[in-house]
Symmetry: C2
Subunit: 356 residues, 2 copies
């Protein structure tokens, strides 16, 4: 790696003590990667101490939500090394998200430099317990100070990192959201941008009061087919086949989703990417032909679903965690944590940098 | 006003020189108002020098777009005083926007304290030319450093200000946007939140390349009726009657829209709040029964529309600016700038504070 290391960076890393209790996304690594883009020209990136950002009060990101992000993980593998999981897929998706909001895509080489540099210097912060990892959060935002509704002329790209447990644990109780929408047809649902998440917060707050964990979002166009959860894709096992909503423009193309489809087929499961009608799904749960369902995402890996709540009814899944979810989760983690051969070529080892 | 004035604030104001060329939202006043909210408890607000904000890189606003804003204006009136236009309507709308994104509403008294304080101290920055004003931008954002998708526990509220010309001038060429959507049914379209604007940037960039100025957004549910522009409401004069889309949950409830409806009725116009079918509208423009159309908003006041572009066709409005738009614009500005009696009770004078 050819970037200059500030003495302050070395001091931040040397002085860092990792807390015992990690949670998800609350413990932050002491360094971050930063690059800026002015009028389409990207600076070289640099590793700097984690510190508050300085933003003009009129910065576009604060008013017009011109920002996008990624979520990815560095894993400690069985041989003691550190690997990233399919980082080039995150780079590609972030470029897509950026373009949807008129932002200059972060060049793949700069994106990779960012995630690899942070990972290389934070190797000691990658937890060793299975299911734990160093969660990486690249993000891009428009920083121009100008209140006109137009794309920014200046941008900042950061990679921050957080040693984390898996995002959800235990079985999730989902609420079928029939009122609010996460994203419009022709909107930003297939881009990883803040507005999708902002729109979901009220639904989540409402359902938590009713004893549920997450919203199950329906398609905003037909209000009938399942799209996704907030930040996670949906799978159901129906008559021993895996069903997941087909990408339709308002679903985020999850990298865990894509990987699980490939992995499941490799393990001999039939996988259907198709429209999943919510009422049909609930009937299937009620009559037992849908025995298990789960959500997946980078942060959560696989989270089993125990209940689908709709109106006054609770539809109980027969099995949570179910055998298919368990098997897929273990197979994926075995690859990510280096216990089985990486036969899909998904893992990218990172050369660790030691300060000593 | 009972707030403490820092010597740095006085110095910022005394040292400020207003540029001759204002534009819209680019020249910023040298002071701003700030209040914070932690776990539901609001601090007292304070006037401070305009300066970069310090935000944790993991702040919710940067990742999940948990923020909302308002746009409003302070006008210099004919008698030399300074007045705000219906500020309590902005306070109410911002409370609605905040609730849609699970944020604590800014108390009306704090909101009013913010806009009145900034205006009172920036009285010298309120331009005197008709159509110019001090544009005020209150905004609220979630600042908690935590990557979980959930509402922030901490918030900051600011009021920044910009001496400005009217947002648009000249006649606008609109593009009927049939692909992208601004906001979903059940989404955040009736709240003034960043995600709506972020979603609109790509459409605006595309149409500018084709020689248009703004997108005309259709309803994301039916793809057939007119919703609004980005940040402006739509009016058409059809058979000598004013038509504007009825509030349907995905249209922002514009304060200029609401005021123009009241003003137009007072001036003897028939005003219909109804669904406006885009194809019917284009037919009416083509056959001449729709002679004029215009957009309205706080920033733009009234902007005449000269062309509606759809696919390969341009539908030319017979009259732009048309007589109805001209008359309404003048009648509204006459009230805002104190040339006629404020018979609706819309203007709130602000007591100017002099540093001398």
């Amino acid at each position: 790696m050819s970037i200059y290391i500030d003495p302050a960076v070395a001091a931040s890393l040397r002085g860092y003590e990792m807390p015992e209790k990690l949670g998800f996304g609350t413990v932050m690594a002491p360094v971050m990667f930063r690059a800026v883009c002015q009028d389409g020209c990207w600076s070289r990136g640099e590793l700097i101490p984690y510190a508050p950002l300085s933003l003009d009060p009129a910065a576009k990101v604060l008013h017009y939500a011109q920002s996008c992000f990624e979520g990815m993980k560095a894993y400690r593998t069985r041989d003691g090394g550190i690997s990233l999981f399919r980082p080039e897929r995150n780079a590609a998706r972030m470029a897509h998200s950026a373009e949807r909001l008129c932002m200059p895509p972060v060049p793949e080489s700069l994106f990779m430099d960012g995630v690899r540099t942070v990972t290389a210097y934070c190797a000691n912060l990658v937890p060793a317990n299975s299911g734990e990892s160093l969660y990486l959060r690249p993000f891009l935002m428009g920083t121009q100070a100008d209140l006109a509704v137009s794309a920014s002329t200046s941008y900042e790209f950061y990679v921050i990192a957080s040693p984390s447990e898996a995002y959800h644990s235990g079985n999730m109780r989902l609420w079928v959201e029939r009122e609010d929408s996460r994203a419009a047809i022709g909107g930003t649902g297939d881009a990883k941008v803040g507005g999708n998440y902002a729109a979901s917060l009220l639904s989540i707050a409402r359902l938590k009061q009713r004893g549920y964990d997450q919203s199950l979002w329906l398609n905003a166009g037909n209000r009938q087919s399942v799209d996704e959860l907030s930040g996670m894709n949906f799978f159901a096992v129906i008559d021993a086949e895996l069903h997941t909503p087909a990408l339709n423009g308002s679903i985020l193309e999850g990298i865990t989703r894509e990987s699980l489809i490939e992995l499941a087929r490799d393990l001999g499961y039939q996988v259907r990417e198709c429209a999943i009608d919510i009422d049909e799904l609930l009937r299937r749960v009620a009559d037992g032909s849908c025995e298990e369902a789960f959500a997946c995402g980078t942060a959560a890996i696989i989270s089993p679903i125990s209940v689908l709540g709709d109106g006054g009814e609770n539809y109980q899944l027969a099995s949570a965690p179910g055998p298919v979810a368990e098997r897929l989760r273990q197979a994926l983690l075995d690859i990510q944590e280096g216990r089985t051969e990486d036969r899909f070529g998904w893992m990218q080892p990172v050369e660790v940098i030691s300060l000593d």
